[in-house]
Symmetry: C2
Subunit: 347 residues, 2 copies
DNA sequence: TTGAAAGCGCTAACAG
DNA sequence: CTGTTAGCGCTTTCAA
């Protein structure tokens, strides 16, 4: 045991050039490498004295077993690659929490990659995934990135699964039910001129997102015309939401409610509205999507369609396990996450 | 290239039992495994025709190179283990962003582990670190976990470095300067009865944290007595901050300012104060620590000591690189992060 | 352009 | 209790 201030951390361990191998230790101690292996791995069939001598020598020499050599021989450790767009968007940490927990539960390791939803970056990350992990759990926007991963035979679970990759297993969010709940809530409150702030990236890459499609559908069902100016694209950030809200109010100052692509955008939009003198929810109501914790902290607290993001991550890992599990055993059906309306002060 | 809906993802790749090796592919195609290796690795010395046949066969058979075998032979890929307390506390994602970026820059892989600052969990995670990564970058509260890692010869960088591990390299946050700035700001505003809400876990494990020590010191320098009831412990969460604030106001309703361990706690405390009818900052001012984005979104926006968390993560990876770098090359000195006062509406 | 041999660092299986 | 013999799956010589 090392005591700081008395004994220093073995600086030999910080070398990089000559890797200390089990053979070096064996030679130094004068035993076979098998014996060293036994000592290192806490096997029982070994003389306590020998064992101690080996451990001491190993530590002194700065020996650390090679994880590659070990992995090669005991085909155990599974690594899952988690691909998210951005750690800073609070949505992803929650999913990550679920993934980490489920992975730990199975003794899996999680390597994290971020893409910022950038096309080139997604393709690069998929390459890494193919090389470095056993199974991927990924938010991937770009069709060709998905195709590339699947084509390379990488087992993976798609986390933002829409209609674009029917053959790839994933977790599906029930936008139909979610958005419908939210809009009906707004309609019940008497709103008729309901705008939508959409994510510009998703829009430009994948096409109209499911939220928007359901929005248009529900409005049509009620016989409510949707004014073209009601739909504003936004960058996926608080500032993006604020800008879109500014544009919306300039174009259509008479909207009474805003349905946003997600909570981050909704928070930005709501702030900007307040800055411009609107009273929320009286002058304009706001509905978010995702159910982020931060939505409870803003003023007024945000009404939102809450989805269990942590569960989303857990389910993804379960699906991944199925994928890796049996021979030919296809993941039968996508798991589904259903959003739940949480009414707070913003509506 | 696979087209979804037309060709299905090769289900053979989802098998787990018989790993398809390079030899299987070689035999199937009728070439040596070196030739397969050449095809897979895009080497130039290979006949385009052979190459294509091999690639096709490999794909059809669901062949994926073993990363262990590869790693063993080309000693390249470095894996850094990032240990954080909790993905859900917004402080950590920001650090993580920095680590991910710096790691990507170097072509390193990042495996993420969480501990919840739990003692047993920290020890377990250190075990995993020792087995699974080349270098650790870690928030570790418990001295024995730090000692264990260092003792095992694992190169690592301590992220919440206080005075407890002088021999372990790390990044140091300049609490002295930070807290002083913050308190002087409060004193300038005329506050004299300044309470502090401290983190109970840190307190119970490591002892009084540097923030508190500087707080006591500055107050003493000004000749301002610190009432015992002014210091309240809190769990590290919004709710924890709220509870502590409740206790504080019950015990000492006459405090005029609160300095919190971090922004998360400050936000909770501020909310509770507002719920109890206090007007912020008139009746009570709030000062946080960390400079989280969410602090800008609450009402009133939180005055805080901002630290560049992303930079913290980047620096840690740079330090890690030094550690791995030269022989005997010790990381000369801890890098230092200096907090910066950001004045907003809460003071 | 291709193949054969050697070995990366380790552990499992069997002797002794 | 300890050593020897075989690989794990791949790439890197070196020949052909």
């Amino acid at each position: 045991m090392i005591v700081f201030g008395t004994v220093t951390v073995p600086s030999v361990s910080t070398n990089s050039k000559p890797r200390v191998t089990i053979d070096h230790v064996a030679r130094a101690v004068g035993v076979s490498r098998q014996t060293v292996s036994r000592a290192i791995n806490n096997k029982s069939e070994i003389d306590p004295g020998t064992r101690q001598r080996i451990l001491d020598a190993a530590r002194a020499m700065g020996y650390r077993p090679s994880r590659f050599a070990r992995g090669l021989v005991r085909q155990h450790l599974i690594t899952v690659g988690l691909v998210i767009a951005d750690v800073l968007n609070p949505f992803f940490p929650e999913v990550t929490a679920g993934v980490l927990e489920a992975a730990e539960h199975r003794g899996w390791q999680v390597v994290v990659y971020t893409t910022n939803s950038d096309h080139r970056k997604e393709l690069e990350v998929v390459d890494l995934l193919i090389e470095q992990v056993d199974v991927g759990v990924a938010f991937l926007l770009h069709q060709d990135a998905i195709v590339k991963a699947a084509g390379a035979g990488l087992p993976f679970i798609l986390l933002d699964k829409g209609d674009r990759a029917p053959e790839v297993p994933g977790v599906r969010i029930d936008f139909e039910s979610g958005v419908r709940q939210g809009l009906e809530h707004l309609l019940d409150r008497g709103h008729r001129r309901i705008a939508m702030i959409d994510d510009v990236t998703y829009l430009s890459v994948v096409g109209p997102d499911p939220r928007r499609e359901v929005y248009l559908k529900v409005m049509a069902e009620r016989g409510l015309p949707v004014d073209a100016g009601w739909i504003q694209p936004a960058h996926n950030s608080v500032e993006g939401g604020a800008e879109a809200m500014g544009r919306l109010l300039a174009a259509r100052p008479d909207v009474t409610a805003v349905f946003a692509y997600n909570d981050v955008i909704a928070i930005g939009a709501q702030r900007r509205a307040a800055e411009l003198g609107l009273r929320i929810p009286r002058d304009c109501a706001f509905l978010g999507f995702d159910g982020l914790t931060v939505g409870e902290l803003v003023e007024p607290p945000l009404t939102t369609l809450h989805i269990d993001k942590r569960r989303l991550g857990e389910i993804a890992v379960e699906q991944a396990a199925l994928l890796l599990g049996g021979p030919e055993e296809r993941v039968a059906e996508d798991a589904v996450i259903r959003p739940e309306l949480v009414v707070r002060g913003s509506t």
